[in-house]
């Protein structure tokens, strides 16, 4: 059985408290990291194969390496706690149940890239998470893990929490930076990438909460140990958030590459009511659906890309037989129409038209050309927007139309 890494403290009474974290071996990676040079740490993370857990899967070591090494340049690290991808609830659990694990990751990461100031951006709706962050940071300061001269190393870091105010798009790193600057959360044009010019125009490294949680373990147990978990290209543990029509919804930590079938049946207890599976969304609602014949797909970046989808955030939404897929698709499309920031016309207008058209088809008001209209709208959005939200909105609709065309056609004749 796989020994939990990231969720090892979750469920332990008082796991959010610094004393419990310390008693379970917490903050032991930090002195080890501070005894190394930043270049050594960047090399370790590169060798570990760690990739971003926020959805894009970009190699973290490479991202660290993009930051300028000149100590005279002010640099920032941002902690993305703006979890909002429908189906995803791992970062909320990590922050609420083990905030010090995240903080330890932030300190090591900031030291490695030479940042002395780090910012947490938390989703405005996460009231409990906000309180946990504030308390954990205060405790970390009190014990000397934050502030000037951390553990007598001469290295200092300040960390503060900033509350978002309700906008999914702020999970996109440049939108998050805009929001931290007190502006509308509209994504920036890249380049320049945040590593060149990010928060307040300074080089900035943005990481997802789960990504940062891996860092102390890589330092403590070594990159070789870490790279031994998962597949050669998708290394390490991953938290899979399982929800929808399953008996035991929840967060399950497994090595990357665990088969989807095992996650659903062995861990999440199978489908409710013993129903058959109709479709599975593997990585949050922006990732295209998989069909029951794809249940043996290993849950890693490469295998899911090969299966025509994405690992995304690892949010597995199971859809049982008997579910109306037009309705599911409509719900997904409405989300993106609501969350489009409105900056790019293809996304602003396209997502609205998708949602409207699907609403019409779902309620039996569909018109003969509607399916072609939907396909055309997807075509008009994909690849034509500043940020990935456009693609995220179009890809699942497109896949759904391909997989369940008959159902959509039947709906145009009459609603279910």
């Amino acid at each position: 059985m796989f020994e939990k890494v990231l969720l090892r403290n979750a469920g332990v009474p008082g796991s959010e408290r610094i004393d419990v974290y310390l008693s379970r071996g917490g903050y032991q990676a930090l002195p080890q990291a501070l005894a190394r040079t930043p270049a050594e740490l960047i090399d370790m993370v590169k060798r570990s194969g760690l990739r971003g857990r926020g959805g894009a899967g970009f190699p973290s070591g490479l991202k660290w390496g993009f930051m300028p090494t000149d100590p005279a340049i002010t640099k920032y690290v941002c902690v993305n706690t703006d979890e909002g991808e429908p189906g995803t609830f791992k970062d909320r659990q990590l922050v609420e149940q083990d905030p010090h694990q995240v903080i330890e990751g932030v300190i090591i990461t900031s030291y490695a890239v030479g940042a002395h100031r780090a910012f947490v951006y938390i989703r405005g709706e996460f009231f409990d998470g906000m309180k946990r962050w504030v308390k954990a940071i205060a405790d970390a300061y009190e014990r000397g893990y934050l502030g000037r001269d951390i553990l007598g190393s001469g290295y200092g870091l300040d960390l503060s929490v900033h509350r978002g105010a309700g906008a999914y798009i702020c999970g996109e790193e440049t939108a998050m930076i805009e929001s931290l600057e007190g502006k509308r959360g509209q994504p920036r044009k890249k380049p320049p990438f945040p590593a060149q010019a990010g928060l307040f125009g300074r080089p900035t490294l943005v990481h997802n909460v789960e990504t940062l949680c891996n860092v102390p373990h890589i330092v403590q147990r070594g990159p070789e140990w870490y790279a031994g978990i998962g597949t050669p290209k998708s290394t390490g543990p991953k938290i899979f958030c399982v929800s929808g029509h399953v008996n035991r919804p929840g967060n399950y930590e497994l090595p990357l590459g665990a088969p989807l079938r095992e996650i659903i049946f062995e861990h999440a207890g199978g489908v409710r009511g013993g129903r058959a599976i109709k479709a599975v969304i593997p990585g949050g609602s922006s990732t295209p659906m998989l069909t029951p014949d794809q249940l043996d797909t290993p849950m890693d970046f490469e295998s899911l890309a090969q299966a025509g989808s994405m690992l995304g955030t690892g949010a597995v939404i199971v859809i049982g037989e008997g579910t109306c897929m037009v309705d599911v698709t409509r719900r997904i499309a409405r989300f993106f129409a609501h969350e489009s920031c409105g900056y790019c016309a293809p996304c602003r207008v396209g997502t609205r038209r998708l949602a409207e058209t699907l609403e019409r088809v779902e309620t039996g008001q569909g018109r003969p050309g509607d399916l072609d209209l939907l396909a055309g709208l997807c075509e008009g959005i994909q690849g034509r927007t500043f940020c990935p939200l456009g693609d995220a909105a179009a890809a699942p609709v497109r896949r759904s139309l391909e997989l369940f065309r008959g159902e959509f056609e039947a709906h145009i004749r009459s609603a279910c």
Binding site: G87, T88, A165, G166
Partner: protein, 150 residues
């Protein structure tokens, strides 16, 4: 950039989201006066403050009901008989007509919100800052009964 335009202080500007939260708490909602005060304090034009505030869903331009009910419309809640079915139940219980989102006495308001990141405990809704999870129709009924009696 016109030479008369004031250069913004980025550190002050970065305080805007926090300042709006504080103003909202003090005034109950972001009234005209609240917006004016925030803009004066941070040296921003009221239009700029309003433009930013309107981008985010957690800032209210109108006074909130005592119980602001936000039903999670996320896909997982939707699959677990929450979202629209839950919203329907809540609206029916509160006697809200089609298109009406607030009870006549102003105590309850109902709206849907996007995924609250609690899909493992679907279906969910939030009342003010508290999350209510795993809501069966009976549990929803009991919850609303309790609040309506208060």
């Amino acid at each position: 950039m016109s030479p008369t335009r004031q250069v913004q202080d980025p550190a002050k500007r970065a305080m805007l989201l926090t300042a709006l939260y504080i103003a909202q708490e003090q005034y109950g909602h972001l009234s005209e006066e609240a917006i004016q005060r925030v803009s004066a304090r941070l040296g921003l034009s009221p239009t700029e403050v309003l433009s930013t505030a309107s981008f985010y869903t957690l800032y209210n331009r109108q006074p909130s009901a005592r119980y602001r009910i936000q039903v999670c419309a996320g896909l997982s809640c939707h699959l677990c008989d929450g979202a629209e079915s839950l919203e329907r139940q809540v609206r029916q219980k509160l006697g809200l007509a089609e298109g009406q989102d607030r009870t006549k006495d102003g105590r309850f308001s109902v709206e849907t919100v996007e995924c609250l990141a609690a899909c493992d405990t679907a279906p969910n809704l939030r009342i003010n800052d508290e999350l209510f999870a795993r809501l069966s129709p009976e549990a929803t009924d009991a919850l609303l009964d309790r609040l309506m009696k208060e």
